[in-house]
């Protein structure tokens, strides 16, 4: 298997995983609306990674999604980032984003989460989704190069001291 075909396989696997993940989150309220007990199993599967508080969740088919709005934003943002990934220089471009890009994308979710944790303000589900989506969209650009690094071998810019070329600045 060549490096390029391995990268295609990694991209396809990540894409299928993300579609399955987001699909399960969306399927839970649908199955609930149909009276399927499988819905409870899906909610239980996501309970270790999310508080699932109804007031902080987006609703579909008259029921809350399997995770809160912020978590759903992160996961759907990840899927959106995967879709955009090939347009940033193709699958062979494995240079990770610069540190300032990571900090910029992380600032809204960090500020909003911290402020709510401290009780400074309360954001609605749409705001939580938006901050999560922005941050989640960044993650494939970090994650896919790391997976390629494990499966294919280190590439230029994959080492921590010069990742994204920013560490040499």
């Amino acid at each position: 298997m060549t490096g390029r075909s391995r990268m295609v396989a990694i991209y396809a696997a990540a894409g299928m995983g993300a579609v399955f993940w987001v699909g399960a989150i969306l399927a839970a309220p649908y199955l609930w609306s149909k009276g399927e007990r499988l819905a409870l199993f899906i909610y239980a599967c996501f309970s270790p990674v999310c508080h699932q508080i109804p007031e902080r969740s987006l609703w579909l088919f008259g029921h809350p999604l399997a995770v809160c709005a912020r978590c759903f934003g992160i996961y759907s943002g990840f899927l959106g980032g995967l879709v955009l990934f090939p347009f940033r220089g193709g699958l062979r471009n494995l240079v990770q984003p610069k540190v300032r890009t990571i900090l910029l994308a992380s600032a809204p979710i960090a500020a909003d989460t911290t402020a709510q944790f401290l009780g400074l303000w309360e954001t609605g589900p749409a705001g939580r989704f938006a901050t999560g989506f922005l941050w989640g969209g960044l993650l494939p650009f970090l994650f896919l190069p790391a997976l390629a690094d494990l499966a294919i071998g280190p590439s230029k810019g994959s080492r921590g001291r010069n990742a994204g070329a920013d560490f040499r600045a």
Binding site: A44, P48, V49, I102, F117, A148, G160, A163
Partner: protein, 168 residues
């Protein structure tokens, strides 16, 4: 002379234990997956600090994934004393839901009254599911941690040998 390469297990244990502890304590666990991602980042930082020449992003993902698995185990163990409290909390969530939603799934009340072998079985099934999910989230955290803190970790561990030409 380079000594033996430090093992990834100690950083993974520390990062995973911290993440598992924070994601198991009721009310503190409201940050959802962010604790696990943070634990992966911490593990990557701790490992990068000890590795001359730094880590690759793949190694960051690896130590983060191990931290995620440790976090799942720690979360499961620490959650046991809080099981009653969590059960009460989720029952209240579903009771509030039932006020909004008429067609609650059949038998949802019994979901919180699991006892005996089923509960033990569900504990291990839940642990396996959580380990898989936490490993992915921890790997993400490891990569992020390496990107954000890799340089600081390198600087604090002293002067580094030059990179081989193939890596530049």
């Amino acid at each position: 002379m380079n000594g033996p390469r430090p093992s990834l297990f100690t950083p993974a244990l520390i990062g995973g234990a911290v993440a598992g502890l924070l994601s198991a304590i009721p009310f503190v666990n409201c940050l959802c997956c962010l604790w696990i991602i943070g634990g992966g980042a911490l593990a990557a930082y701790l490992w990068a600090k000890d590795i001359p020449g730094g880590l690759t992003s793949g190694e960051g993902a690896l130590v983060g994934a191990f931290a995620g698995v440790v976090a799942a185990a720690a979360d499961a163990l620490i959650s046991i004393p809080f099981a009653t409290l969590n059960s009460v909390f989720f029952r209240r969530v579903f009771e509030r839901l039932s006020a909004y939603v008429e067609d609650m799934p059949a038998g949802w009340e019994r979901w919180f009254d699991r006892t005996g072998p089923f509960q033990v079985g569900w504990f291990f099934v839940g642990l396996m599911i959580a380990a898989a999910i936490f490993a992915v989230l921890g790997a993400l955290g490891g990569v992020i941690g390496l990107s954000l803190f890799g340089r600081k970790a390198q600087a604090s561990s002293g002067p580094q040998p030059p990179l081989p030409p193939s890596a530049i």
